[in-house]
């Protein structure tokens, strides 16, 4: 019987499947970080349990790690205690840790793929909702809570009810300077922040096939912002090429066997999904959010909605509340809106291709007076690669800050944050109230739009910047 990519991975990992009960699902790779794991390890200790498969568990420090070069001053005692607790937990239970200062440290969803841990067909979990990133490899990857982190540490399994499947098909060709970030913002704007709830999304179509692996990760990363726990893209030659030769990827005969297995993963002809959503790539423009959730997004040149566009009710109230928080009026486009801070980084857009794109806009230009620009690589590996290519000099000569790797201003736990009332164009994934610092106001956009806005000090359509 014809099966989808999701069904193949799911069926391959069901340890116990009894009617009327959630499946016991085997987890191939468990990623952990300092913020959502301490209570899970405490739970293990309280029960006298061990980590069942420490070699399938990988830890990194990222959420509260400092990004100021060299100083590496952890922001406060609480953060320091959490980092040191992760170190103790990993030592005690025999888990590989890429600690702060390790040359392989970085954001968990950047480190997993770049070290070759992330592979097609796997089940991957992490106490972090952006675990959906790894679905770009054709692996079933989703965020879990801390109780579930404890379950996986102890049993290498999770209790999961089987989700429904949604195909998001995007055919056609993206226009120049329109990116994967614009695709996913357009998808979320179309289906809404709860549109994917209960579903695993598989992204298909010629525009998805044309994306490189890093762009695919950007798309899958924000699946959770549409409410879907996981996003998937079928593995292909690009996937295999990306994984091949990485530190923890299979090698030799094991590699050949793995590729044979992975080639069977894509959805069979004739397999069906529970629902279908389509977008045309040619019609997607550079997108930007204007409100307080990622579904409040429009093409950057398009007028924002106005209150009058909504019928009275909760949707209108939500719009009005968001406009008050953002200090904006609807009815006109955001182009020209003053910007105080630009943040390029995060598990959404902190990989080398994102930095190259930002650098291509900033090269030979300077950031506007009064605008603070943070460029935060997703990992130490990304940082080294950027420096080898001279991107760091492009950024610093343009007047941007070149930082160490970490989650940084995406979650504002490490001291990198907005001040109340400040406006930021950010390449991260959430524009919730206070997400980038209490009272801060976030416009989510691509690295190209962010860099262009840095240059002008205003929200800018990157396509209108004159050639240097």
């Amino acid at each position: 019987m014809a099966r989808t990519l999701f069904e193949k991975i799911w069926n391959d990992h069901v340890v116990v499947g009894e009617a009327g009960r959630p499946a016991v699902l085997y987890v191939d790779l468990h990623l952990i970080h300092e913020v959502t794991s301490p209570q899970a390890f405490a739970g293990l200790r309280a029960r006298g349990l061990k980590v069942r498969r420490p070699e399938r568990t990988v830890a990194t420090m990222d959420h509260s790690t400092p990004t100021l070069p060299k100083a590496l001053q952890v922001i406060d005692e609480q953060a320091r205690a959490q980092l040191s607790q992760l170190e103790k937990n990993c030592a005690e239970f025999g888990i590989r840790l890429f600690a702060l200062g390790n040359d392989k440290n970085g954001i968990v969803h950047v480190v997993g793929p770049e070290r070759g841990f992330t592979q097609p067909g796997m089940t991957i979990v992490c106490g972090d909702s952006h675990t959906s990133t790894h679905g770009a490899f054709g692996s079933l990857a989703f965020g879990i809570g801390t109780s579930e982190v404890e379950h996986v540490l102890a049993s290498q399994c999770l209790l999961q009810s089987r989700p429904k499947t949604m195909e998001v098909r995007i055919d056609g060709t993206l226009s120049p300077l329109v990116t994967a970030k614009d695709i996913i913002l357009a998808v979320i704007a179309q289906i809404g922040t709860g549109g994917g709830t209960g579903y695993v999304i598989e992204y298909t179509g010629s525009a998805i096939r044309a994306l490189d692996m890093e762009a695919r990760m950007t798309v899958c990363n924000m699946s959770i912002e549409a409410g879907a726990r996981a996003g998937l893209i079928a593995p292909d030659e690009k996937t295999f090429e990306y994984v091949k030769g990485r530190e923890f990827a299979p090698a030799g005969a094991a590699w050949d066997a793995a590729v044979e297995r992975w080639k069977k993963l894509p959805t069979d002809a004739g397999a069906t999904y529970d629902t279908l959503v389509t977008l045309e790539a040619d019609k997607i423009e550079p997108m930007i959010t204007y409100g307080t959730h990622p579904g409040m997004a429009v093409p950057v040149t398009q007028a924002l909605p106005a209150a009058a566009d909504f019928s009275a009710g909760s949707e209108r109230q939500a719009f009005e509340k968001a406009m008050v928080y953002m200090g904006l009026e609807g009815g006109h486009s955001l182009v020209g809106q003053k910007v105080d801070v630009v943040f390029v980084g995060s598990c959404t857009n902190g990989r080398i291709s994102d930095l190259r794109l930002a650098a291509s806009v900033l090269k030979g230009r300077h950031v506007a007076v009064g605008v603070r620009v943070l460029i935060v690589p997703g990992s130490q590996e990304v940082k080294r690669q950027a420096e080898a290519e001279g991107l760091d000099r492009i950024f610093t000569e343009a007047g941007a800050e070149w930082r160490e790797a970490g989650c940084s201003m995406c979650i504002a736990m490490n001291g990198d944050q907005l001040s109340p009332g400040q406006y930021a164009v950010s390449t991260s994934n959430r524009n919730f109230e206070g997400r980038q610092g209490k009272g801060g106001r976030t416009f989510l956009a691509s690295p190209a739009t962010a860099a262009a806005s840095a240059v002008t000090g205003k929200v800018t359509d990157v396509r209108t910047l004159a050639a240097v």
């Binding site: 391959d12 340890v15 116990v16 009327g20 009960r21 959630p22 016991v24 085997y26 913020v35 959502t36 301490p38 209570q39 405490a42 739970g43 029960r47 069942r52 959420h63 509260s64 406060d76 609480q78 953060a79 205690a81 959490q82 106490g127 972090d128 909702s129 965020g143 879990i144 809570g145 109780s147 579930e148 379950h151 102890a154 049993s155 290498q156 399994c157 999770l158 209790l159 922040t193 709860g194 709830t197 209960g198 959770i224 409410g227 726990r229 297995r261 959730h293 579904g295 909760s314 949707e315 109230q317 939500a318 509340k321 504002a412 736990m413 959430r430 919730f432 109230e433 206070g434 209490k438």
Partner: protein, 198 residues
Amino acid sequence: MASFTKITSHAVVIPSENIDTDQIIPARFLKVLDKDGLGKSLFCDWRYLPDGTNVPDFPLNYAASEGAQVLIAGDNFGCGSSREHAPWALVGWGIRVVISTSFADIFKGNSLKNGLLPVVVSQDIHQKLLAAQAANPKAQVTVDLAQNLLTLPDGSTTAFPVDSFAQHCLLHGIDQLGYILSFDDKIKVFEAAHSYAS
């Protein structure tokens, strides 16, 4: 895990839609090593003024809200981050039931593991609840998990959907990890059969 059977309580209403976990418990409160003590930071940025005093018109701060065990919120409650600190903070404040027209998946799963019951109701029932609570902030609702029945302040009842396994675990305070570990033999067989998983 604490069991959950039946609760009768007045409710706090925070009617906004898409209340994300960053609002329920902002990220700066996640730098903790245990689960306790988060109740005071629940909805921190909506609840307190910059000087630390209460925002007078925020529902949690109403005198009538004191002691409420039920929260009625707008659609897609708990979207965003996977932080289990969100249910920990709600439970820490005293909430045992959240009623909405829908919940984000991860939040729902996290809640059920912490004795916090997400109750999905129709738009109609939601509107009725909001109206009843607006008329009388001390209006009582009853949530009976064994019967999966919600009793509104006017005495009418409505069934709410609940996953039968989650219901069983909550009613009896069953620890899900213990349940998973009871399949240890099958996990071993699975690992042996999947050479790539060994």
